[in-house]
């Protein structure tokens, strides 16, 4: 796929259809991949990569690319296209700045799962079909893709590209995903159990703000947590409870706009399953307002910014709280 992507990108650059290309660049190790902008064919051939580790969602970068003007070729995986659409709906990116090639994706690997399985001293990683071979200074390890696939990919919501100018590889279907399983489990807990669960998870937060900074739904020009005079500055707080509140507030702020791309959990250095907060909101929205997927449509009003006669009444809080 990489070669095909590079040659198509070179073509589009050469015929002037696009001015630059946004994709992924190989990092220090085989698994560390950095989103990057490529300006010419040579650049692409030497640095561009597309493999099992290109999980990073490029959509957020498109906000600053839009500001720079010109036409950008963006390679978007199915889940990335939802984020892009949502950014279009929120007027954070302009459609005319982008030429989008939807790329087929069958799930991305998570280096943390490879590490958790005991692989260290990694020299190279290769994959063929479903098999992933990790070569390390301590010997080779064999995995199947399902052993090392990112959590968000194992509960993939859709392999369908909701926006593109051309496709590379197959366009898939919206999947019947199991992504709400853990949310259901949490819902079945007693309030105390649930509180303990979240206190445990959130107590590991180091307040690095990676979740916020990577989130395509967090595009405020100035976040309240960056505003020294707000009294809620971003850094560690005197009271650890504030750390918990940060994530809850953030989840509220992206509710109805979060496409469940899972970047927050991918980047969390403390491995906090932040996506579960967002999924709880999505599940609630689905239950209260009917199925809704943020980013699926550009011109649709999201249920939280729309009013209909059938909307759930505020009293629903009490009813559900008692359940």
């Amino acid at each position: 796929m990489r070669e095909q992507m590079i040659s198509r990108a070179c073509e589009l650059l050469a015929n002037g259809s696009v001015d630059r290309v946004i994709g992924w660049e190989r990092g220090e190790f085989v698994y560390d991949v950095t989103p990057a902008v490529f300006n010419d064919a040579e650049d692409l051939k030497s640095r561009f990569v597309f493999d099992l580790f290109c999980g990073a969602n490029l959509s957020k970068y498109l906000v600053s690319e839009t500001a720079k003007g010109g036409k950008v070729l963006a390679f978007l995986k199915p889940c990335d296209t939802y984020s892009f659409n949502q950014l279009l709906a929120e007027h954070r990116v302009k459609r005319e700045n982008f030429y989008i090639i939807g790329v087929e994706c069958n799930g991305m690997a998570d280096i943390n799962r490879i590490r958790e399985a005991g692989a260290s001293g990694i020299k190279s990683i290769s994959s063929a079909g479903d098999k992933v071979t990790v070569s390390t200074v301590y010997g080779d390890r064999e995995f199947t893709l399902s052993d090392v696939i990112a959590e968000r990919c194992s509960s993939c919501k859709s392999r369908h590209h909701v926006v593109y100018d051309e496709l590379m590889g197959k366009d898939g279907e919206v999947l019947d995903s199991n992504r709400f399983d853990m949310v259901e489990k949490l819902e079945k807990m007693t309030p105390d159990e649930r509180f303990e669960f979240w206190r445990g998870e959130l107590s590991r937060c180091i307040r690095c703000n990676a979740c916020r900074n990577v989130c395509p739904a967090c595009t405020c020009e100035k976040c309240i947590f960056d505003n020294a005079s707000s009294g809620f500055e971003n850094k560690a707080a005197a009271d650890t409870f504030e750390e918990n509140m940060f994530h809850i507030i953030r989840a509220f702020h992206v509710a109805g706009r979060c496409t469940d791309c899972g970047e927050c959990s991918r980047v969390c250095p403390a491995h906090i399953p932040l996506h579960l907060l967002n999924r709880k909101f999505i599940k609630d929205i689905n239950e209260l307002y009917g199925d809704y997927q943020a980013g699926a449509e550009v011109n649709e009003r999201g249920p939280l910014v729309n009013f209909t006669q059938d909307d759930a009444n505020p009293s629903i809080v009490n009813e559900r709280g008692n359940g």
């Binding site: 990073a56 020299k123 707080a237 005197a238």
Partner: protein
């Protein structure tokens, strides 16, 4: 040198914690290890290193500095400092152990930071040599030997035993207190482990990385055109700074508890937009300047001010944790030659 069977390591921990607080790397629910207060049932982690470095034991992420009580126009300053109780931290790797020397240069230089000093004075560091260094390790680039960590007591682990050797008076005292549990052994007992680790280090991809290229003058590195590309994907989070064992920048803030004002300090990050923000603006307008500051500090400014000692110990945490895989190694490789 002394040894104790790994089967009895919990007895060792129990004996230490009977006298002083003991922190060891233990796994939490996310599979990563954290320095955790030992009590019955807390197991030593098998992970190579902790998610957060050991610096937090001496320079906590949040720390009270002083309290105030105010009434009308009157202010009362209340010095709430207390001497830290003696504690032991076990399982510090060579990289983190070396980071204490870097933090010392900041906090113990005049004027001495009393908050840090009391933690240093009362903490006994038991280091643990690495057995399985990772591809992200490059401590050797900074002259650190992962097979021979410094500390008050150095420890090595093979399949059966833990070997201990005290290097300081503090270490001596602790070993003496534990001597009923320990068996004296040959000074060379850990040599096989050391040799194995050294062999692996040579095979690791970053083993040849050298920071020597940064001895040039600061302007040429600062003005390098390469920063313009390097910083580009940085999302401006503080992950690298918070997991770093040598990052020591802090903020001071006041917190109204309702009963008084608590002035505390907390880790800060040069990656944040408000780090240098003044009422009149900031000299570091974009992420480029912030990104550059972090690496200039570690590779150029810090050595300039500290006899050539770099502000990095090669622990590799930033390599593992950066959401977009930017890290000091990329910067070193990209900019090294520009210092000349």
């Amino acid at each position: 040198m002394y040894r104790i069977s790994l089967d009895s390591i919990d007895n060792l921990f129990a004996a230490i914690s009977a006298v002083e607080k003991l922190y060891i790397p233990a796994d939490r629910e996310d599979g990563q290890s954290y320095f955790t207060e030992w009590k019955e049932g807390v197991k030593l982690s098998d992970n190579l290193n902790t998610f957060r470095s050991a610096k937090g034991l001496f320079f906590p992420q949040v720390q009270d500095l002083v309290s105030f009580r105010t009434e009308g126009k009157k202010i009362e300053v209340i010095d709430t400092r207390k001497e830290t109780e003696d504690f032991v931290v076990f399982g510090v790797r060579a990289c983190d152990a070396a980071s204490f020397g870097i933090l010392d240069r900041v906090f113990l230089s005049d004027p001495v930071d009393s908050y840090y000093k009391t933690n240093r004075d009362h903490g006994t560091v038991m280091t643990l040599a690495c057995n399985r260094p990772d591809e992200t390790c490059f401590c050797t680039s900074f002259g650190i030997d992962p097979s021979d960590p410094a500390g008050d007591i150095s420890c090595w682990k093979d399949k059966e035993n833990l070997y201990l050797k005290s290097l300081t008076e503090k270490g001596e005292k602790l070993v003496y207190a534990l001597k009923d549990l320990l068996t004296e052994c040959d000074e060379n007992a850990a040599d096989t482990v050391k040799a194995e680790v050294k062999a692996v280090m040579n095979e690791l991809p970053l083993s040849n990385l050298k920071p020597d290229d940064f001895t040039g003058e600061q302007l040429s590195v600062f003005n390098s055109e390469k920063w313009k590309e390097l910083y580009r994907s940085c999302i401006g989070c503080g992950t690298c700074t918070f997991v770093c064992p040598t990052c020591q920048c802090y903020d001071i803030k006041d917190f109204n508890t309702g009963k008084g004002i608590e002035r505390f300090r907390c880790w800060d990050s040069c990656m944040y937009s408000d780090f240098t923000m003044m009422a009149s603006g900031t000299p570091r307008l974009t992420q480029l300047e912030r990104f550059r500051q972090r690496f200039m500090h570690k590779l150029v400014y810090f050595p300039m001010n500290n006899d050539g000692v770099y502000g990095c110990v090669g622990c590799g945490r930033c390599l593992r944790k950066c959401p977009v895989s930017m890290n000091i190694v990329k910067v070193m490789k990209s900019l090294g030659g520009d210092a000349k």
